[in-house]
């Protein structure tokens, strides 16, 4: 497969716009940021969002088995086009079965980030990989390279990264229209374009910010932000959560007791 496509002009424009957004708070306390040999912040390690956003990225009261949450959407408002707002309400009503998460599908971006499961970042100068515990989702972020020529549809999108100062900026396109942002039915189309910004605040915290753009669904771009926490348990590691296998495990070849 050829990876030679150039970034389309509109995407370059968006990237430039994203770089103008206000910079998050500078690193403070808890010691200096760890850095790699090439001087970039070292994001390697196991991280987890501690949030209720997987149930609802907007502010919500508690329900059974759903803790209340303040939401992660800036301004707490998602600028749906009218048809899309109706679709969202329909999704919400049918969320128990309609949520792709209930089918154990790959969660997409940014949802993979704020699922209540840890993930691990592996960082090298040209290539950053993120391995998620949830359904062994995995993302490869190739640095300073272009998206391939589309149309392409990936569940986790196609990710291209670059450093802006101490912020890892990841441009993600080529999604399916099959994933949701949360259990509450917030959704997007295959025209989704996500720009993620990973800014380390301390050695133990990353400020995660994502700008969401989808001209088919929203009237304007909107933003989410939340902290990621470095898991500091001794011997912590990403385990597995093979959601679609639950209840289907075989026993016929188990040794006799």
């Amino acid at each position: 497969m050829s990876i030679m496509a150039r970034l389309p002009g509109w995407m370059i424009a968006t990237l430039a716009l994203a770089s103008l957004l206000p910079a998050p708070a500078a690193a403070q306390g808890s010691g200096p940021l760890p850095r790699t040999a090439d001087g970039k912040p070292d994001l390697s390690g196991i991280w987890q969002a501690v949030t209720t956003a997987n149930w609802n990225i907007q502010a919500h009261s508690a329900e059974k088995d759903v803790p209340a949450g303040l939401g992660i959407v800036e301004g707490d408002e998602i600028p749906y086009q009218p048809w899309a707002a109706a679709k969202k309400r329909e999704n919400f009503a049918n969320r128990a079965t309609a949520d792709p998460d209930a089918k154990c599908f790959l969660p997409g971006v940014p949802r993979a980030t704020y699922l209540p499961f840890p993930f691990q970042i592996f960082q090298t100068p040209n290539h950053i990989a993120i391995t998620y515990e949830y359904v062994h989702a995995v993302r490869r972020i190739f640095m300073n390279s272009s998206h391939p020529r589309g149309p392409l549809e990936f569940w986790m999108g196609d990710s291209r990264g670059r450093w802006e100062g101490d912020t890892l900026v990841v441009d993600v396109v080529y999604f399916t229209n099959q994933t949701w942002f949360d259990r509450a039915g917030n959704f997007h189309s295959e025209a989704l374009h996500v720009v993620e910004r990973y800014t380390p605040i301390t050695p133990y915290h990353i400020n995660y910010e994502a700008t969401i753009e989808d001209p088919k669904v929203f009237t304007r771009p909107w933003k989410i932000s939340l902290p990621l926490y470095r898991r500091i348990e001794k011997n912590i590691r990403v385990l597995d959560y093979e959601c679609y296998a639950f209840g289907l495990e075989r026993t016929w070849y188990r040794p006799p007791e």
Partner: protein, 303 residues
């Protein structure tokens, strides 16, 4: 000793103590409290509604109760009604319900006497969080302060309120809670607290608190502004303005005094509630009453 019994005895003792202590409290006007590192007046300690507010938690309009009830609850037989009008605005001391809400409240009062559904039972008896201002009318309140916040701990159903006084904005509307979302600020020695974003459960009413036992209900439009005026080391002139344009014809106001608890080495103890509550007998009795058509409205005056 059951916590509830211990509690009622304490309230009784307290009423006597405060009855005696009350006249002294009006004196100091320019109390200068010690200050905490973040500049807040230090109001820590344990407080409780004064004798003037006794029984107001049951009904802000009528107090509580009747001699028979008092006997059951091991309360003094004479402890009936309100000592002082608690609703100061409107001047008639009645809650300014809109016409539809009068009907709704009447329904609550009938169901209260013969509950057949869980939501007919008084929220307090269902161990509900009490919300604002009702939390302040039920037993001791311990106030702790740490930089930027006032924390109120209630013995009743081990409830608490965290009141930021650091100027932060209210939580988003979507995250409504039974206790409401409180934001405070200091005006001299007066702690002004605005509580909004109360949770409202129009369908089930399962845990929907009321403002008193007499079915004083509200909607998600409830907004309460409290003024905790610390007039001396031991006294708060407490005032709360209650508005809910969906239920009331006008904002209304309650006022009473809150006193520092004088008991030495007082410690809040755990009052489990939900863990021990049983409502099935009451529902059974309610069903029998409803069947026999002997329903009546809950009232302390009508037989």
């Amino acid at each position: 000793m059951s916590t509830r019994l211990r509690h009622s005895l304490r309230v009784f003792a307290l009423v006597l103590v405060l009855w005696w202590a009350a006249p002294a409290s009006a004196a100091a006007q320019n109390w200068s409290p010690s200050r905490l590192p973040d500049g807040q007046p230090d109001i820590q300690g344990t407080w409780e509604g004064s004798a003037d507010s006794a029984n107001a938690g049951h009904s802000l309009e009528e107090g509580c109760c009747d001699p028979e009830h008092n006997k059951m609850q091991q309360r003094a037989a004479s402890n009936i009604g309100l000592r002082k009008q608690v609703i100061i605005d409107p001047p008639n001391g009645r809650i300014p319900f809109q016409p539809w809400a009068i009907e709704k409240r009447r329904e609550h009062l009938i169901n209260l006497e013969a509950p057949t559904e869980l939501q007919h039972i008084e929220p307090e008896d269902r161990c509900s969080l009490q919300g604002v201002p009702r939390s302040n009318l039920r037993g001791p309140i311990q106030i702790l302060q740490s930089p930027g916040q006032v924390v109120m701990l209630f013995e009743w159903v081990h409830a608490y309120r965290v009141i930021p006084v650091d100027g932060r904005p209210h939580a988003p509307k979507g995250a409504a809670t039974w206790q409401g979302d409180s934001r405070g600020r200091w005006e001299g020695n007066t702690l002004v607290v605005e509580a909004t974003n109360f949770r409202f459960d129009p369908v089930g009413y399962n845990k929907q608190p009321w403002i008193d036992s007499h079915g004083t209900f509200y909607t998600d439009s409830l907004r309460v502004v409290e003024r905790w005026k610390f007039v001396d080391a031991n006294t708060v002139d407490y005032e709360a303005t209650i508005e809910d344009p969906k239920v009331f014809t006008q904002p209304w106001k309650i006022a009473y005094q809150i006193q520092r608890l004088r008991e030495k080495n007082f410690e809040l103890i755990e009052e489990g509630c939900w863990e021990g509550v049983s409502v099935s007998n009451r529902l059974e009795a309610g069903r029998i009453a409803a069947k026999s058509g002997k329903q009546r409205i809950h009232s302390h005056t009508e037989p």
